[in-house]
Symmetry: C2
Subunit: 157 residues, 2 copies
Amino acid sequence: MSQSVEWSVHCCLALAWIETDQPVSVAALSTWFDLPRAYLNKGLQALVRAGILTSHPGLRGGFRLARPPEQITLLDIVVAHEGREDAFRCTEIRQRGSGVDPAAPEFRRACAVTTAMRKADLAWRRELAAQTVADLMAAAPQAAAARTRRRHQSLRG
Amino acid sequence: MSQSVEWSVHCCLALAWIETDQPVSVAALSTWFDLPRAYLNKGLQALVRAGILTSHPGLRGGFRLARPPEQITLLDIVVAHEGREDAFRCTEIRQRGSGVDPAAPEFRRACAVTTAMRKADLAWRRELAAQTVADLMAAAPQAAAARTRRRHQSLRG
DNA sequence: GCCGGTATACTCGGATATATTATGTCCGAGTATATGTGG
DNA sequence: CCACATATACTCGGACATAATATATCCGAGTATACCGGC
């Protein structure tokens, strides 16, 4: 899985802990987490396209959460990066080779292999969808939230 | 996910349906499924290293299942290709940046983000481990098994 | 007819290219702010 | 002192390189078979 997913989740957490409407620049976030600024920006753009964040150009610009942390799931963030399609791609190799009629009734039903894989994929997605950014905020230690707010304060000073 | 996973599962199904101890060459398998022979071989080698298949060189050589279909899970096959580690890689970015003491007590506990991701990963693995090749044999239409056996017969003729 | 040695055709296995994707970098368009100027 | 035009510094956004990985291919080492000659 893309590294950007991890970065994005931590950035969303930080933006949620700030508890303010003023945007946070990618420069600040990249400094806080010691990440390559330009590439982090690329990842956050994906979240903007997915409607998870909103971006604001100009001085004092940056990124904000597009909606409350309770309404942002891990699945949302993962899908923003990896896309909505399953990790397992069925290419229907059961229909390949000579002497196979693609119109045969047996192919009306989905491939058994694909069905099994999709079942696992759905379980994975179900767990991701059950965890919101707000849940992570509650699970993380208070020190993490405090550190984020401290860092945010020291921006203006 | 690697394409080889799909190929491997279908090959294991074929080997199970054959119901014989004589090995099947990668040449035959690649013909049956219309796949690149050499690259399919590479994928099956991974299964051999994982102990799922056994390989037999020489004339009339090929691949066999190393154990009964009931004892081969989808997780076994996936792990043989993708490795045992989680798709999500935690790089502990919570500890990065200036003014963070890596020895702080808060870091004794696992990263909340990683924990959430791992929970989803475990659910995925649980579903994969619950499905054996034998289960797939039962779920697939009889026509698939029959076609495989027919193909195997026509090898010697 | 039977046995043993040998040639052979076929097998896997790993070393070697190519294509695709992920990662990383750079610079420009655009905007909110700060500043200076005139009223 | 206030309003306004302007300059400016800072923002994101996408176009452009590089590294890593997945995909594909080729050729060699090794083996079970088939063949052939000798007994």
